[in-house]
Amino acid sequence: MGKGKPFLEVLASSVHEDFRFPFLEIFAFLYTLGTFALANFGASISTGIATSEAVAYSVTNSLIGGSLIIFIILVFKNVAYGLGSELEKGIIQTYFSYPIKRWALLTAKLLSGIGFSMLLFLGIQISAFYILAPDIVVSHFGTIVMTYAASLSYPLLITAIILLVSMKLRRGGIGLVLGIIMYFGITIGSLIAFLIAAATESALVVKILSLLSPSYILQLYYGGIGAPYLSSTLWNPTLSEVSLYIVGSYAIVVALFVLGYVYFSRRLNL
């Protein structure tokens, strides 16, 4: 048996478990419907956005908006209920009979739970975007990629936390509840952060928030939501700052996942 074969066996088994018929089909249907139903080109007109780059951002944002919650539900289900319940029921131990290291086992699980979901999400979204507005996709691909990167950072951060909680508690339910609270909590948190920033005339809270969820700094950069609370003199982020915050947020995500790998490989007693 080659070195890669056990890994592929585990990956295939995980994909089979995570995307049992008709889960994959239902989510593909919802992604497609959500993408088209909530795409809003009119928003860029009504808000009077001038530059074509900002229009590309605004449209991408509207496209992501509805489908992101479906993506999050799918990922949370796979990580909390997939991996979490396997830990809870001890099913994960059966995988240890494969000649495969623990980190490779976790990689296969995450590739199935997060990688495949993301592939489906991005595949449908970009294709739908290309059907709706090929001109925008071709001419502003960089802006689109940056918007997706900024929007996906926070869900991935929550996923990493769910993973850690599920491994620590060996059950998925609590991790799932925590993930949902965190996802919706950031909306309220952002509102408070912007108000604090406006009241204290310090953008520090918003900067911390942007490090966790760089979609806020991107919104500020393009003059979207949140911008009215902050005067341009308080914080007017540049493109390089936006990129830096996105990289920073992914560094946090990677660090949390590395922590998960270390815990799974060395600390988790099964």
Binding site: A12, F19, F21, P22, L24, E25, I26, A28, F29, L30, T32, L33, F36, A37, A39, N40, F41, G42, S44, I45, V55, I124, A128, I131, L132, A133, P134, D135, I136
Partner: protein
């Protein structure tokens, strides 16, 4: 072999699910969100953008088109006329003409419009002759753009052009989405049939 059948099968059922969603999107009716339907009277060798309020008040009809917003147009005229759909606001055309001619007011001479069109041929989104017979056209775009409709009378007699402009909103370009759906569904069915048959046989065996 079995794994390949599974992958193809699930790929097929996913394609079918996407096709159903696309078909659903294409079937959702479009909604009228704006438009204009005033008759435009043109004296010989003049032009006029379609107006919201009749002359002399300067209130030109402009539309903002997006891949989700298209213009449905119907025209007929008492005599021969021309219609242009330009991808700019009417004010841009009028201001350019005023600037070129160095006049304060508005110049509705056809030669001025011809000068503009000659200088900006890329702004002509669609053009057509209008006669007594009604013509219809739907103009859709793949990017966000302005649109204005200009009527011109190149003849030596007065012309009245009846127009009905409807700005329609939809979720997606119906034709395009439906075509993709029609292509994807059969491919998905072909891919899924062996897997579905196999799953059905296995269930039968279990029973």
């Amino acid at each position: 072999m079995k794994r390949l059948m599974n992958i193809l099968g699930r790929g097929g059922t996913t394609l079918i699910a996407i096709s159903i969603a696309l078909l659903l999107v294409s079937l959702l009716p479009t909604a009228r969100i704006g438009g204009a339907d005033n008759p435009t009277r043109l004296t010989p060798d003049t032009f006029s953008p379609i107006r919201n309020i009749p002359w002399p008040i300067e209130s030109f009809y402009d539309a903002q088109l997006t891949p989700q917003r298209e213009l449905e147009m119907e025209f007929s005229a008492t005599s021969s006329a021309k219609v242009y759909l330009l991808t700019v606001e009417a004010r841009t055309v009028m201001d350019w003409i005023s600037e070129q001619k160095q006049i304060d007011g508005r110049d509705y001479n056809l030669t001025s419009l011809d000068d503009f069109l000659e200088a900006h041929p890329d702004l002509i989104g669609w053009e057509s002759e209008v006669d007594k017979e009604e013509i219809q056209h739907t103009y859709s775009v793949e990017r966000i753009t302005n649109a204005t409709i200009i009527l011109a009378n190149p003849t030596a007699e007065n012309v009245t052009v009846m127009s009905e402009i409807r700005l329609m909103n939809s979720l997606a370009p119906s034709e395009k989405v439906r075509t993709i759906s029609y292509f994807a569904a059969p491919i998905g069915i072909v891919m899924a049939i062996p897997w579905l048959l196999d799953t059905w046989k296995q269930r039968k065996k279990k029973i």
